[in-house]
């Protein structure tokens, strides 16, 4: 009797203690796009439903230090000739409906992307370089020609056209598609909460299509690495606009919010400890038509390179929504080279000298030029027009050159760039996959800019397929030195996003990385599984 009473008392205390801990931890987060069609990343990237990717487990993904971490794969290896990669999958992964998750689901995902997915094929073409990809997407070869084989239930073999030392990092966007569901329902499996299955750390509870908001719950079938530490996650893309997000945050309706320039002081005053910054892996730079006057002269390009006071630009005009860029690669990006960055100084004397050498002392006789900028939304919208006006004043001041600014719709701007219809542009670029080859590729052999610089192209081609990482980074650094010496571009700024997070949030994802940046949901898999409340 006595013992049982003691037991009952202990039980009561234990229950009382655990009850608060058992209260559901729900995090409310902003999303990105208020429209989304399919809850299927591999069907559509640009029109996907909110955080479709969080429902699935990628082959590998990045942690906050941008270290590649195996997820669905346990390990991988590269063949001697560097052309074939073997990925060994975990054996215990299942879909939320209990079906086993196999190599077939991954292979099928890419086969479908190449044949009937609608906006993701390009990534696998230029980032993956998978054998046969171009031919299959263009419809000139059968899907079996793809360099993709499910060797058995847990082994995938990927063959590329050239050695791609960085292929594992490309697989951070390789999610499985439930072949058994597609066989049953076609692509429509990803349209209704009832038929959507997941393989990752979260399951789908609800999806409000009118604003693309979702409620996710911690998966009870996912057994792989990085399991969710919260019970529930509500994501509302209407909170993505800082104008809506910050008031909601201050009223306690969301756990974090992104900030616009005007809001930063308000948020700093409200809670300085809650401010988080992230360097977006993006760069804005000046580029030229290298073939025509006046930028066919390397001295003119060098003059522009030295004529820009990036520190003043970012601290005054841009109010720290961007940081100075001395390289095409942003800080923290693989291959980022401080030696290259250090060369990008503001040196009016040098700038004037180069311009004089080109035959335009103090800008005399320099033709009228117009900088073409693209109509932008998001972070670029806050940066590019203001920056263009700053450069206009600076070029007048330092070089004695009169510059006009012209803003064009995206397609017209791109047409102008590709067709060399103007001679100077401000071009923003955000990475597509985490490897230097991504940024250097935009100037390689035509690329985005119609640049054909043999010396640069040789170095980039060597680096792209070099398997020793130190040699590879060194080759890229040499290539960038060619860019600097020939003044092919002028790196201007890297955008910074700023957010405020609630003090209720904890876990390592809420803390900055070693560079002082907090990538938040830009690293969705890491962020939402390493967050507590």
């Amino acid at each position: 009797m006595h013992i049982s009473r003691k037991f009952a008392a202990t039980l009561a205390i234990a229950t009382a203690l655990t009850l608060p801990a058992m209260a559901q931890a729900t995090i409310v987060a902003p999303g990105q796009s208020t429209t989304g069609t399919y809850m299927d990343y591999m069907k559509t990237v640009y029109d996907r439903a909110t955080f479709a990717e969080l429902l699935q487990v990628p082959i590998a993904t990045f942690d906050k230090e941008f270290e590649l971490t195996p997820m669905a794969a346990e390990s991988w290896s590269q063949s001697e000739d560097g052309l074939t990669w073997t990925f060994n999958l975990r054996k215990d992964l299942v879909w939320s409906d209990g079906e086993p998750l196999t190599a077939e689901d991954y292979v099928f995902a890419l086969q479908r992307a190449a044949t009937s997915g609608y906006d993701f094929a390009w990534y696998w073409d230029f980032a993956g370089g998978i054998k046969g990809w171009k031919e299959v997407t263009e419809g000139t070869a059968d899907v079996s020609a793809l360099g993709l084989v499910a060797v058995d239930d847990h082994t995938i073999e990927v063959t590329t056209t050239a050695p791609k030392p960085y292929l594992p990092s490309v697989t951070s966007l390789w999610y499985p598609v439930p072949k058994h569901k597609v066989d049953e329902l076609g692509d429509d499996w990803a349209l209704n909460v009832d038929t959507i299955v997941s393989s990752g750390p979260f399951d789908l509870e609800s999806w409000e299509k009118s604003n693309n908001s979702v409620a996710l719950t911690k998966s009870d079938t996912y057994v792989g690495p990085w399991q969710a530490q919260i019970d529930r996650l509500e994501v509302d893309p209407s909170l993505g606009a800082p104008e809506v997000g910050l008031p909601a945050f201050l009223a306690g309706d969301t756990d974090y919010s992104f900030l616009n320039t005007g809001q930063v002081p308000v948020a700093m005053a409200a809670d300085p400890d809650g401010i988080r910054k992230n360097a977006v892996f993006a760069t804005s730079y000046l580029s030229y038509d290298l073939e025509s006057e006046p930028f066919n002269d390397v001295n003119v390009r060098r003059a522009f390179y030295y004529a820009i006071d990036r520190d003043e630009l970012t601290s005054t005009v841009l109010k720290d929504i961007a940081i100075p860029a001395g390289s095409i690669l942003p800080p923290g990006y693989p291959g980022y080279n401080p030696d290259v960055v250090a060369q990008a100084t503001f040196d009016p004397e040098k700038a004037k000298q180069f311009l004089a050498d080109a035959g335009y002392p103090n800008g005399e006789g320099f033709p009228a030029i117009e900088i073409w900028i693209r109509e932008e939304g998001g972070y670029n919208g806050a940066i590019v027009p203001a920056m263009a006006q700053y450069l206009q004043a600076e070029f007048k001041d330092v070089l004695g050159i009169t510059v006009d600014i012209r803003q064009l719709p995206g397609a017209d701007w791109m047409d102008g760039l590709r067709g060399a219809k103007n001679n100077i542009f401000i071009a923003p670029y955000e990475y597509d996959y985490l490897d230097p080859s991504n940024f250097y590729g935009i100037f390689y052999n035509g690329g985005r800019h119609n640049y054909f610089v043999p010396e640069y192209d040789d170095l980039v081609a060597q680096a792209d397929s070099e398997s020793d990482w130190d040699t590879r980074y060194d080759l890229y650094a040499q290539a960038e030195q060619v860019m600097i010496d020939q003044g092919l571009i002028v790196p201007l700024v890297h955008p910074i996003t700023t957010a405020i997070i609630s003090s209720d949030l904890g876990g390592e994802a809420s803390e900055p990385n070693s560079l002082g940046f907090t990538p938040l949901d830009r690293l969705g898999h890491y962020f939402f599984t390493h967050l507590t409340k």
């Binding site: 208020t34 429209t35 069609t37 399919y38 640009y46 029109d47 009937s116 997915g117 609608y118 906006d119 094929a121 390009w122 997407t137 263009e138 419809g139 429509d188 349209l191 209704n192 409000e208 299509k209 009118s210 604003n211 908001s213 509302d236 209407s238 909170l239 606009a241 104008e243 809506v244 008031p247 909601a248 201050l250 009223a251 306690g252 309706d253 995206g410 397609a411 791109m414």
Partner: protein, 309 residues
Amino acid sequence: MLSYILRRLVSVAFTFIVVSLIIFLMMHAVPGGPFDANDMPVSEAVRAKLMAQLGLDQPLYVQYLRYMWGVLQFDFGVPYQSPGESVLQLLSRAWVPSLILGGLGVLIGAPLGILLGMAAALNRNSWIDYLASAVATLGLTIPVFVTSMLLILVFAVWLKWLPASGWPQPERWILPIIAYAAIPVATYARYTRSAMLDTMSRPFVTVLRAKGLSERRIVFQHVLRNSAIPLVTVFLPMFIGTATGSIFVEAMFRVPGLGAYFVSSIETRDYPLEMALMLMITFMYCIAYLVSDIVYALINPRIRVGGAE
């Protein structure tokens, strides 16, 4: 009267067809299509396949006739931005929050505006008259997203009485309803005040006073009724305008309503949805004006419609 209504219905049908043609042509005259957004690189082969699937590879007149044939059977197609449901299903889903918030905004705002306008007219040049003018001016000139922001700032952020935004809990309805109500309050206060002042200066009111009727009877039974025509004119169109959702109010208060679709359907070149929304609005406005005209005749028999009688 009946023949008048019939004639008006025929003209509604005619308007409907003309508007559908204009919208359809304008929609397709805008450069670009649903699959060539700048940031969405779709290969040519895939684009061609998608265009064929959606019938967008057909000549324009075929597309138009096909669509309108569908409309006659209440089939407005499948929205590109929400495959897996029909346009009608999308509308019936997304319209609910807009109808509730916008509808309640007008239903609450209009009587408040009338009361304010009446009080102002009956107490000309008093503080309440000035208040009504201030409310009317501010309500009509301050953009609704500013009103919304102020409401959120005061009631959610500073006072913490109400949640800032969200859906569907009823406590989250209050602020957007107030934001929506601002315009009918302002409009009705202004209209009621001027209409009542106008009526009160008419000789028949003096006659009524001379007959010894109480001021209350004069105002409620005679003046108000005679001032009602402009109020009736604005009510239905305003109801339709507000109850189909405002993109600003819905975005500020995170309401998953219809408002945003008016913009997103144009942005994403979602032709079926864009057509459906425009046709729906056209139809509702046509009917609203028709009903308003009929109600005129009922409340004021001196109005004889179309000279038929």
